[in-house]
Symmetry: C2
Subunit: 349 residues, 2 copies
Amino acid sequence: MKITRIDKSRIDQADLENPVFGTQFSDHMLVCKYKNGKWEEPEIKPYGPMSFTPALHTLHYGQALFEGQKAYYMSDGTIGIFRPEMNAKRLNHSAKRMFMPEFPEDLFVDGLKQLVEIDRAWVPKKEGYSLYLRPFMFGSSEFVAARPSEEYIFCVVMSPVGPYYAGEVKVKVEETYTRSASGGVGSTKCAGNYGGAFFATDQARKEGYTQVIWTDHKNHELIEESGTMNVGFVIGDTFITPPLSDRILAGITRDSILTLLRDTDIVKNVEERPIKVEEVIAAAEAGTLKEVFGMGTAAVVSQISTIGFRGTDYKIETPKDGYAMKIKKALTAIRMGDADDKYNWMVRL
Amino acid sequence: MKITRIDKSRIDQADLENPVFGTQFSDHMLVCKYKNGKWEEPEIKPYGPMSFTPALHTLHYGQALFEGQKAYYMSDGTIGIFRPEMNAKRLNHSAKRMFMPEFPEDLFVDGLKQLVEIDRAWVPKKEGYSLYLRPFMFGSSEFVAARPSEEYIFCVVMSPVGPYYAGEVKVKVEETYTRSASGGVGSTKCAGNYGGAFFATDQARKEGYTQVIWTDHKNHELIEESGTMNVGFVIGDTFITPPLSDRILAGITRDSILTLLRDTDIVKNVEERPIKVEEVIAAAEAGTLKEVFGMGTAAVVSQISTIGFRGTDYKIETPKDGYAMKIKKALTAIRMGDADDKYNWMVRL
């Protein structure tokens, strides 16, 4: 790995107290180019502009994907990253489906660690704050023809972020717009999945909701995801989340929560199975729908207070000591090094 | 419109005899920026690199779309553009669905005309050659957060291209991968639709096919498009093409061909209706499947010689004087100004 350090750190101009998500970037970035069928030597160098012609392939044909994860101070003062090898694997899952080259997984993890180490002054020390890591990859050939890019750039940038606070989360069951289809790219973190979702989200916001709950591509009967998060329901004493498929992002937080729930007595039963909107609504009406929450890197869990379905708002409890918060607490304890890391999830610098 | 001319044209370094599609670009480009909720003054300026930080929004969230059309010499020596106002409308259809700002349609057409006029030396004079125009738009804010871009760039670049020759076109009916779904973005020319299609296309190529025929998202029973073209079938003396929907690109060539076919006696009947794979296969087996062809800007019509379905290859005639070639001839006559342009399709410089 080639390393070129910045002449003078920009840290003294940074706002680590009240960072706005994804708007300030640390001193360095990692860049690795793919040319002639292979990855060149990666380079850590000062964060800064790249120059492209307007024929940049990804602007036209959308071979672009990303990952997202966090580095933060653990209780013992070391810096940890949560399950980065899972992000490496998922990046390559996305890459394969988008017909992009896979990036070596050990280099992915090692690159993140070296990059965070060099910019460790950018990891906020306040509780709940972290350095958001954004690995991404895009087609960088410069031609305009509907065939795959021949060159690619893998890059990692980092941005200090504060604790996630979504406010009250009201979601609308989306029955018109579709996020993904079987045989499509819904299980990837390709850029187009996000751009394609903004319109439906905006429609929901105009109706007073925070986000949509995506439903299946065939009949809009099955629940898929909530916004950009996986979604879980506690009905009675059973936790239910839709099963993974090529329509659903394999969330690392989702996987971690399933592991924890199966290993603890927070809920009695854990089910990964298709769940219909009508089952959720029936449970809400019957009073057995205890909690609903999104699961993702940003918030770990994000409690949902309202589900809007065909004009009716169903209210859901968001207790401070309920299922979601117990899960968050258990997961946070592992992340902070305060609980036994029996799954070896933490990678320390 | 601000105009900044190049100091010295690069035309003497260009290969207009054997141009490789989309790899050489003319002297100038048109750039228009969207900031603070409005489009700034467009500028025609020398083609060249743009500088962005790695936080460029579209690299992460895929708000990106394009159009494609051609300028070429007509028989009387004027330069014409085919139905540019249709591209302007479709660009805005794509923009709306991708939650991007619409671009003024009159400015789109006027901008193309002015840009082609300035670079008229780049319009190849050889028959069948043209200057390919590539309008495109992308989210250009520089932050990394899953919300819509606030700034956008509309740009037009131009590339001299030769006549389209695909060779023998063998298509495979795709029953595993999906291009689009109802409620999705399939009717737009968003970048992600193309990046998401490369994998399935490559799989088909490995099996000896040129392209796929996409089928519907629900059961893979209905025919949708062929590769990046609309598709038409002549069964008996009836032309059939799938109806427009939010899963299918509203091809301008498709629309023009439908108009011509309804107005001439090339075929007896014209039907826009859902068509099942099984209907096409049954017609092939019964000997009533006369011709199959793709319809698009690149080739106008592209005859398909083979349809592969579940391991069986169905051969189709590709006559030089059949339906497809009669359609191409009729359309080309209008494009060249050799036939009455009763629909006012040609916009002359």
